[in-house]
């Protein structure tokens, strides 16, 4: 069987308070991907719709979106793995195409987070963990990742200052990404200035500046078999490797608090399938919902040895000009994190990089790129490796 590739990518601007409905939000990413691919809705064989539930009122969003996107009567269904939903959607689309069931599949991710308050959002995400045994203690995502930051600090001597450097890098690129929700610079000094909001406490040891920005947004990735890729696209980007894993939802069932096992396992699977090693990656998008998450990703994906992620950011090796550029579109920290849209947006960034179309964020001549997308508190992990 032939290769599977990507012929179109798109995303909406990531914003606070999108002035429209969920279906209209989804259309923004879809339109850009369809225009990028240069195809019509009749060319799409099926759609995979991805988001996390309970941010808006629509139940079973797949049917509603498929109708609005003009993708009926083709089959459509809903995929959910919290923050990694649209990466899991890409994995499923790959299998639908690889099996020969469909020639072309659209993966549409969306999230309209602004329909609820920030505290309600924390409660929703907290319930993306173990609602029977842990949520009753008052859990939320920043606190769960803070447990990992504390674990990393205790094991490796990492400091809050090391994490701040990751936020500074994200903001460097958020400023030049016109789709990013947070376009302002962030300096290292802001974290030590008690008057600056970046230094405000959230869940120790994480501060406001360590946390990603909630946003409304949508993304779309159009996946096709080799024949359709060659027919429709001058620059198809091929899916070389896929990895996915899960683990215990409750922290009491985990053994490691200085890394995420799902990231390690998904990475190993994807490298093996692609027949490459971490050294072969020219540009990466990793799941930086919090600064500590990017630090752990450096180590879990093999860009740095365990405990040496801090050296990678201190030496600026993950900047655009470094040996392994990471999140040079601003990442979740500055670009924003509309849960269900995030994976597709990460894929879009890598596809644009590999096509040489990333504008001010362009890395020099990359051939192979990696997307690392985590759902929940390291509950789900997806790694996708793409090549020219």
């Amino acid at each position: 069987m032939g290769k599977v590739g990507i012929i179109g990518v798109g995303q909406s601007a990531f914003v606070r308070g999108f002035p429209g409905s969920v279906r209209e939000l989804a259309f923004e990413g879809f339109r850009e991907a369809m225009q990028d691919a240069g195809i019509a809705t009749k060319d799409i064989g099926a759609s995979v719709i991805c988001s996390a539930p309970e941010y808006d009122k629509q139940r079973s969003p797949a049917g509603v979106l498929a109708e609005y996107l003009g993708l009926t009567p083709q089959p459509t269904f809903y995929v959910e793995t919290l923050c990694s939903s649209s990466s899991m959607g890409v994995r499923l689309a790959y299998s639908l195409v690889k099996s020969g069931l469909h020639d072309v599949v659209a993966v549409v991710g969306f999230q309209k987070m602004s329909e609820i308050t920030s505290a309600e959002s924390q409660e929703r995400m907290g319930r993306g963990a173990d609602i029977q045994w842990e949520s009753p203690f008052g859990t939320m995502m920043p606190a769960y990742y803070a447990l990992h930051a504390r674990g990393h600090f205790a094991k490796y001597g990492t400091t809050p200052d090391d994490l701040a450097l990751i936020r500074v890098k994200a903001a460097t690129y958020g400023q030049v990404n016109e789709k990013a929700v947070y376009r302002k610079p962030v300096t290292f000094d802001m974290f030590s200035d008690p008057e600056n909001s970046m230094s405000g406490p959230v869940a120790s040891p994480l501060r406001v500046g360590d946390c990603c920005a909630n946003a409304d947004g949508s993304s779309c990735v159009i996946i096709a078999n080799e024949e359709k890729c060659k027919a429709f696209s001058k620059k198809p980007v091929w899916i070389l490797g896929l990895g996915a894993a899960s683990t215990a939802v409750n922290m009491a069932g985990r053994d490691i608090f200085s890394g995420l096992t799902v990231g390690m396992q998904a990475g190993e699977q994807a490298y093996k399938m692609a027949g490459i090693t971490p050294k072969d990656i020219d540009v990466a998008e990793v799941h930086d919902c919090f600064t500590i998450a990017e630090m752990m990703a450096y180590e879990n994906l093999g860009f740095a040895k365990p405990g040496e992620g801090k050296d990678l950011i201190k030496s600026k090796e993950t900047y655009k000009e470094g040996s392994i550029p990471v999140n040079v579109d601003g990442g979740l920290l500055s670009k924003g994190h509309p849960i269900g849209a995030t994976g597709g947006s990460q894929v879009r960034t890598i596809v644009l990089q590999l096509r040489g179309e990333a504008g001010p964020m362009q890395v020099k001549d990359p051939e192979i790129g990696l997307v690392h997308n985590i759902g929940g508190v390291g509950l789900y992990g997806n790694v996708t490796i793409l090549g020219r």
Binding site: A119, R127, G138, M140, L147, R150, G151, P201, F257
Partner: protein
């Protein structure tokens, strides 16, 4: 015939500041907590130990479980102090969530509120104790051993 509402066992709704589960096959956990015991359970068929307790063993597929009590001390693996809370937990702020390693199992809970911040160290020995919250709900907290 459907059970009347009063017949449904909702003891677990008393667990934590806000409980999101009312009925579970391990509802006796709540009676034991009320009696001052924090309990896990063990599969009587294969011996696998579970905390938190479960009704079903995924190791041997057994369902014959026996209770044990969490005793002694555990090592503090990690913790975080929350200065901002999800909806429903506003009145508890600030509070710290934490994880203790008891060797054969781990226990997730909160740190007792009266421990000075500078005395909390990863690796320190602590003990889990049942706790009644101001709203009458029950949970457990970790105290210095």
């Amino acid at each position: 015939m459907a059970k009347k509402e009063k017949d449904i066992d909702v003891r677990f709704s008393k667990f934590g500041t806000v409980s999101f589960t009312s009925t579970t096959k391990v509802n006796d956990f709540m009676d034991r907590l009320q009696q001052g015991k924090i309990s896990g359970n063990r599969c009587k068929t294969c011996g696998k130990i579970y905390f938190p307790p479960r009704a079903d063993c995924h190791n041997c597929f057994g369902k014959d479980m026996e209770w044990f009590d969490v005793t002694g001390t555990g090592k503090l693996l990690t913790y975080s102090k929350l200065e901002y809370a999800p909806v429903g937990f506003e009145n508890d702020v600030p509070y710290s969530i934490a994880l203790l390693d008891y060797g054969d199992y781990k226990v997730f809970g909160r740190l007792a509120g009266n421990i000075p911040t500078d005395e909390i160290k990863v690796g320190m020995e602590m003990k889990a104790v049942p706790n009644e919250l101001p709203n009458g709900q029950l949970n457990y907290v970790f105290e210095k051993a």
